[in-house]
């Protein structure tokens, strides 16, 4: 029996506006509970929503970047259900006429490209947070997050396996970060996804019953959850039973999906147009403005790095693949003309450290600022490339400021010519045999002298200066 998997992803992207979708409450992460709550976010009797224009503009950027239909007039609907972190007992969303309609995005898996069509992307408000494990027998509700603008991106069920799902998710993440509409911070929940999975016999037209796995927020878990779910569904069908259409949660510790206890299935959301919100219209002028000011996307950056910074394609691709790395590259290039140097560090040492720790550059302690500073210190000869490696490692581990590290550890390289000459002469005087051997043709012995000077200066001598001086002294 050959099975085909059919997957659709609904990705919730938290838009990086300063304030909420319908109120002036702050959206910033990590605040004390219930301190970023406006009257409107509380759903107090008598309050009314006012739409945040910026959320629309960000949503439209996504639509333009995915060649999607933009509905310049869009409307809001109410989705009615009860949950403690849903203060009004309904969520304001866009059901009938979303801001962004059909579009598409290209993904790449193992070198093969595929287009995934996107059904729609609509604006809706996020709910608050329910904290289940802090209080005995009780759940705590924090409404800080309630009202944060989300862009819900719904894919067509065109994804065929877990790898494609991850590639799609990564592609969306890359796009929204480059478009500057979301910070892409998975740990903070800036992007979450619901995965719809069903299976069918190979060649069969009719889709199988799907299960929805809710709220997954890491690439690893998406892959595992899908693989587990597919196996589960195959087991069920092969044993003669049917898959139940239901909502499931992925348990990352047990690596399994389980049915949600709540009566979600009994829920009829009774969508209807929200009478408090009139249709929002984006003018042609506004639309063109957004179009003309779209941030640079990865492909555009790649091209520019090759043409303007003389990087080779492979380097450009790596650097342009992540918004953070691209930022680092561009900021560092402001501090030095040597973009090749910057690129080498990113593609070389930094990438190696990322691989070693198995993390994304956003998760590292290296900031664009600090990185730029490090490159600048190499460029201006404050430290040597070799010393820089140890500085980078220190920064990687502690996040401390580059200059502070250099000062504290006394890493400023010695370039003082007279001092180096003195030391060099001292070494030469102390090693007459090697000097003779070198002068009689044993060129490799040059390294010995360099090594000795370095030893004498605890590695702090500027290799460049040492080379020049020794060459002079030994000539």
């Amino acid at each position: 029996m050959s099975w085909e998997t059919v997957i659709g992803l609904e990705i919730h992207v938290q838009l990086s506006t300063k304030s909420k979708l319908f109120s002036g409450g702050s959206t910033s992460f990590g605040a004390e509970p219930n301190t970023h709550v406006d009257l409107i976010d509380m759903g107090l009797p008598g309050v009314l929503p006012v739409a945040n224009k910026e959320a629309f503009l960000k949503a439209i950027r996504f639509g333009l970047a995915t060649n999607a239909v933009i509905n310049q007039t869009s409307t809001f609907d109410r989705k009615n259900y009860f949950y403690p972190d849903l203060p009004k007992g309904y969520q304001i969303t866009q059901m009938a006429l979303p801001i962004v309609g059909e579009g598409s995005i290209k993904i790449e898996v193992d070198g093969v490209e595929k287009i995934i069509n996107i059904t729609r992307a609509h604006l809706e408000e996020d709910a608050g947070k329910s904290i289940h494990d802090l209080f005995e027998g009780e759940t705590g509700v924090d409404l800080n997050r309630a009202g944060t603008p989300l862009l819900e991106i719904v894919s067509e069920p065109e994804i065929s396996n877990a790898k494609e799902a991850v590639a799609y998710f990564k592609a969306i993440r890359q796009l929204v970060t480059f478009l500057d509409i979301c910070d892409g911070n998975m740990a903070e929940g800036s992007m979450r996804c619901d995965v719809n999975v069903s299976i069918k016999k190979e060649g069969e037209e009719k889709l199988g019953t799907r299960a929805e796995i809710k709220n997954i927020n890491s690439f690893k878990f998406i892959e595992r959850a899908i693989n587990h779910e597919v196996e589960r569904q195959i087991r069920i069908i092969e044993s003669g039973e049917s898959v139940v259409q239901e909502t499931r949660l992925y348990d990352s510790i047990k690596n399994e999906t389980r049915s949600m206890r709540s009566k979600e299935e009994a829920n009829d959301y009774r969508y209807f147009p929200c009478p408090d919100l009139l249709p929002v219209v984006i003018t042609d002028e506004e639309l063109n403005n957004i179009r003309n000011n779209l941030p640079e996307l990865p492909k555009q950056k790649e091209k520019r790095y090759v043409s303007d910074n003389s990087l080779d394609i492979a380097e450009a691709k790596i650097i342009a693949s992540s918004k953070t790395m691209a930022n680092m590259f561009e900021e560092a290039c402001l501090k030095t003309d040597d973009s090749k140097l910057v690129a080498n560090w990113l593609v070389g040492d930094v990438s190696a450290l990322l691989n070693k720790d198995g993390i994304d550059i956003d998760e590292s302690k290296l900031t664009p600022d600090n990185f730029a500073k490090m490159v600048e210190r190499i460029s201006d000869d404050t430290i040597s490339g070799k010393i820089a490696k140890s500085v980078l490692e220190e920064v990687w581990d502690s996040g401390s400021d580059v200059d502070e590290i250099i000062q504290k550890k006394g890493l400023v390289q010695i370039q003082d010519e007279s001092l180096l000459e003195e030391i060099g002469q001292k070494i030469i005087d102390a090693n007459p045999k090697q000097v003779e051997a070198f002068k009689s043709g044993k060129d490799r012995l040059f390294g010995f002298f360099v090594g000795q000077v370095m030893k004498e200066t605890q590695g702090k001598a500027s290799p460049k200066s040492v080379n020049e001086i020794l060459r002079k002294l030994l000539s």
Partner: protein
């Protein structure tokens, strides 16, 4: 000098001539309220703060006609730090941390909020019998209802306790009690008055409005109540005119529409004669009556009873015992918390409407009910638009009859719903409408309704004012006719 039954205009002139101070007026107001406690017109009184303000305000410049005047506020408006219940058990302990825009507007104009008036629970009702805080008595009769949902406001004004009060009108809740209590009440164009801080019943129908003894007083109130509010995106940005200007304009040549489809034959003959008398009077003032056809108007009440419950079923979901208001004790899980809290907190009429609302929005029924009702709503609005091409205002009785006895509408909710037959259409279309007293039936007052075109409050106020200049129905009080 008693202030009972005085109008805002009369009190203003007494204050301006220093014949009385605001403090004296306010103190007497509370005395009157106390003496008339059996009306049960108020849920919460604001005595200390009111008297304090009346003293403080003495030294402030007079910014409006309302300066120093006591006003009663319907308990549907959030008033900061003053209990706001909406006539419901579920909010019986709710103290809002903010005030409605309309309250702020009135208080900034210098009015003194003396208390929160009783009302049908969550504005659902036409007799003030659904309030958790007990029914309100109509000052015109021992066992009579004042109408609803703004029954407390109507009763307080009719009894002369305050010159004016705020009300809200979703299907007739200002006009119908105004009619039954013999006072003047106006619902403006949808969007004229900000809904920020107005506890929502049916968002696309709710409007605040003044209830007072005269059209002139309504105009004074309206001037201060209306504003464009960026916190309510459904509030109009059109300029607020001075509604008191041009009230005296002649109505000669005015075209008044009579709706063909309002079947007068179904009304009591006394009610019909009162209406006919008013028509004659307007003709004597130079107006011309033209028949207009609003072919879909008979669908107003059924359409309303789909749309309003649908919106309210959603608006009332926030009352869940989690963040504010009543919470049931002794609940073992979340489901119980919701179900017990809400079942304890809401009365039967509210429950009925929430259930109808959930039903008409539910999967499988949405198109047949909710969507259909909204389409019918557009038909009704279109009918009005056509009619207003031919006439300046539309006139009808406000109610089918005068005030009825408590408990007399029996147990059939539909009998109660039909009370709003004449008033509902204006809400569906978002048009301004008002009621003014125009006669007596069985020694009980009854009202005349004027419906205006979009944004044309001025016209209906003029038409009402010209009636009140030449008749004395609005001067009648339960104790006899007031000297004008």
């Amino acid at each position: 000098m008693s202030i009972q039954y005085k109008t805002i205009a009369e009190l203003r002139s007494m204050l301006d001539s220093k014949a009385i101070s605001s403090k004296e007026i306010v103190e007497e107001t509370f005395k009157l309220i106390d003496e008339n406690n059996d009306l049960n017109a108020f849920i919460t009184l604001n005595k200390e703060a009111a008297i304090a303000k009346s003293i403080e305000i003495e030294n402030n410049p007079v910014k409006s006609a309302l300066h120093g005047i006591p006003i009663a506020q319907k308990d549907l408006f959030c008033t900061k730090d003053l209990r706001t219940t909406c006539g419901s058990n579920i909010l019986s302990n709710f103290i809002p941390p903010y005030s409605a825009t309309v309250i702020e507007n009135l208080e900034n104009a210098g009015c003194i909020s003396v208390g929160k008036t009783n009302m049908d629970e969550f504005a659902m009702g036409s007799s003030n019998e659904t309030s958790f805080f007990g029914g309100v008595r109509n000052p015109w009769g021992q066992n009579l209802v004042p109408g609803g949902s703004s029954g407390g406001s109507a009763s307080a004004v009719a009894a002369g306790l305050v010159p004016a009060a705020t009300g809200t009108d979703t299907g007739g809740s200002i006009r119908q009690p105004a009619s039954l209590c013999g006072i003047t009440g106006l619902k403006p164009t949808y969007g004229r008055i900000s809904r920020w801080g107005m506890i929502a019943f049916a968002s696309s129908l709710d409007q605040a409005g003044p209830m007072a003894r005269t059209a002139e007083d309504c105009a004074i109130m309206l001037n201060e109540m209306c504003s464009h509010d960026f916190k309510d995106t459904t509030s109009l940005s059109e300029d607020v005119p001075d509604f008191t200007k041009d009230l005296d304009s002649s109505i000669k040549g005015l075209k008044i529409g009579i709706v063909k489809e309002f079947d007068m034959s179904k009304l009591d003959s006394d009610v019909v004669s009162v209406f006919e008398e008013s028509k004659k009077h307007y003709e004597s003032l130079g107006a011309e009556f033209i028949e207009v056809s609003l072919p879909n108007i008979s669908l107003s009440v059924p359409a309303y009873y789909v749309v309003a419950p649908a919106e309210c079923s959603s608006n009332l979901s926030r009352f869940d015992g989690v963040k504010f208001g009543h919470r049931s004790t002794d609940t073992i899980n979340l489901e119980e918390l919701y179900i017990k809290t809400r079942s304890e907190g809401f009365g039967d009429e509210v429950k009925r409407r929430i259930l109808i609302g959930s039903y008409v929005l539910s999967a499988g029924f949405y198109d047949a009910y909710y969507k259909k009702a909204q389409q019918v709503r557009r038909l009704i609005k279109n009918d009005f638009d056509s009619a207003f091409k031919k006439v300046d205002v539309i006139m009808s009785p406000t109610t089918r009859g005068a005030a009825f006895e408590t408990g007399s509408k029996g147990s059939d909710p539909i009998q109660m719903y039909l009370e709003d037959l004449f008033t509902i259409p204006a809400n569906l279309a978002g048009l301004p409408a008002m009621s003014l007293p125009n006669g007596m039936v069985d020694n009980k007052p009854i009202g005349l309704q004027l419906i205006g075109n979009f944004l044309d409050e001025k016209k209906i106020l003029q038409v009402a004012h010209s009636f009140q200049k030449s008749t004395d129905w609005h001067l009648k009080t339960p104790k006899g006719t007031k000297l004008s």
